[in-house]
Symmetry: C2
Subunit: 367 residues, 2 copies
Amino acid sequence: MAEPLTLQDIRGAEAPGDEPSFEGWTCPLPLRDSPTIVMGHGGGGAMSGELVEHVFLPSFADASLAQLGDSAVLELHGGRMAFSTDSFVVRPLFFPGGCIGDLAVNGTVNDLAMSGAQALFLSAAFILEEGTDVTRVGAVAQRMGAAATQAGVRIVTGDTKVVESGHGDGVYINTAGIGVVPEGVDIRPDRAEPGDVVIISGHIGVHGIAIMSVREGLEFGTEVLSDSQPLGGLVAAMLAVTRDLHVLRDPTRGGVATSLNEIARSSGVGISLDERSLPVPEVVANACAFLGLDPLQVANEGKLLAFVPREQADEVLAAMRAHPSGSDAAIIGECVEDHPGMVSARTGFGAARVVDLPIGEQLPRIC
Amino acid sequence: MAEPLTLQDIRGAEAPGDEPSFEGWTCPLPLRDSPTIVMGHGGGGAMSGELVEHVFLPSFADASLAQLGDSAVLELHGGRMAFSTDSFVVRPLFFPGGCIGDLAVNGTVNDLAMSGAQALFLSAAFILEEGTDVTRVGAVAQRMGAAATQAGVRIVTGDTKVVESGHGDGVYINTAGIGVVPEGVDIRPDRAEPGDVVIISGHIGVHGIAIMSVREGLEFGTEVLSDSQPLGGLVAAMLAVTRDLHVLRDPTRGGVATSLNEIARSSGVGISLDERSLPVPEVVANACAFLGLDPLQVANEGKLLAFVPREQADEVLAAMRAHPSGSDAAIIGECVEDHPGMVSARTGFGAARVVDLPIGEQLPRIC
């Protein structure tokens, strides 16, 4: 017989288990003195980058992961596939122009598209909070299903966990996705070259301002709808012009500024923007002026940045403008040999400024 | 110019966005009058099944999803792959014998193995709580990396989100995984046949009791260590005997009872267990007796159930016992033509009882 059972009080839920130290850990992350996680670590900017560089990359030690693309491109059965994941913790769950459900589908579909891949399969994993209305969960699921149909992707596997009331926010969703990379396509964050033309597929800053308008109780005169949409069709139209797209990126958290800085560093090129050419809708510009934000740092959920060889740029731009998801596409800058790893912008007055990536994020939890 | 900006108070964070109804929704889930999510919906038992059946399956309408296997088996580039996802919300993050990090790797590796697939690639997505020690996150990541190395799988893509203090529990992790299904293997929850022998790969109920021992402040005389481990190697050893394994399942949430009931229903067979043959360690049996639990309903994280044609059963069992992850493997029952869709057990006194799946779960958040 085993020893008779005894009850022992252990204080709190986090009783000491088998907790190891983090070996090799020597100092807090450079950007913060505090050795704890702060909201900025989830903002997609410089602090997020630090966490990945100092904590996750050393622990996982993988060459594909270290490329830090929107998705990993892998060999399977003699062909290439793209694989990507994203968790969604947006507040509120429903916002003008979308909800967490379509965001979760489009976000991963778009991460795959940024490798040139057409999404085929998605997983859907839910962390639900006790006490959430089942009808709300159902509405999210139904919108996810509709978004998957629109994007031409199948939701083939899933999972549901429930956490106690107060430990979640109604619904968190993770999606992971698999897509096929067409032959001859080699789109990577480190392929930008001096001379490449930088194209944005449409208006910037719309998703972030749409979320802010409902969450912070602001009204901007005109209702701003999220730009959440799948971009696989737009990318296919671009690849029909040329397979030699160098870089694609969807500028979500941290906005266009973060994406461009990451590409400038990965590729070792300078990026020079013409600020007058940025397609910033008036309502976004006004909201940003009012709130002290830079539209370049505000999140988008249905836009892409493309780095295209100069010879193909006009034809690619025309193909984008002919597609419903790219009708407002514009050339916003070019890659240069000057200031490698940095992004600069010529202002309306002819001066130049450095476009840095945000440290944390002005508006947490926009996706 | 747009209208001048105005500030408007909207009450609470959940300002009315673009919230739709859940179309086609007519009634609360049959097992509950309350129209809200309860902990039992995440327990892996009957209530989890209801949520999937009434909310997710109709919304996503996918044939692979509807099979409700541990992973989806899909065609890509002319070959077959398995794809699976799981989120992990275990409390506490570190427990005797493991932590949320190795659980997140082994859980998805094992879901893939239940299709006969060897895991190749994992995604890792973190939802971190503001205020969590970075060293804790690092320790989790380091253990994940070590578990991935042990399982022979690469972590190739990832994501990090941060939620405000009080909205999470330190660390939630989602992993999704991709594996290759060998030719000639066709393992599905609906392939059990009368005459099949039911084998368990080792001691049952260990993970659930290990979590309970630290969380509920119980001591059971002997320390109970979680059985979290990767099962790809064990499955490969079994497939080396015969490719004609009918069903594999890792009995996690809801335990052996839930897995067997799901298989009985999917396959339309009866399952008859011999209770005396169940490998329940004494410390688990004592803890269950003390707590009023059925060891068949307690979670495992490093065990599998196999349904094997009678002619191959002895040889498969021998191969399992020769593998370090299957040294305590045992035949626990068989499939019968009687009582299709139900599981029965012959007790030590020769009587028979129905083994039902739990409604919710006795111990939430064990994975």
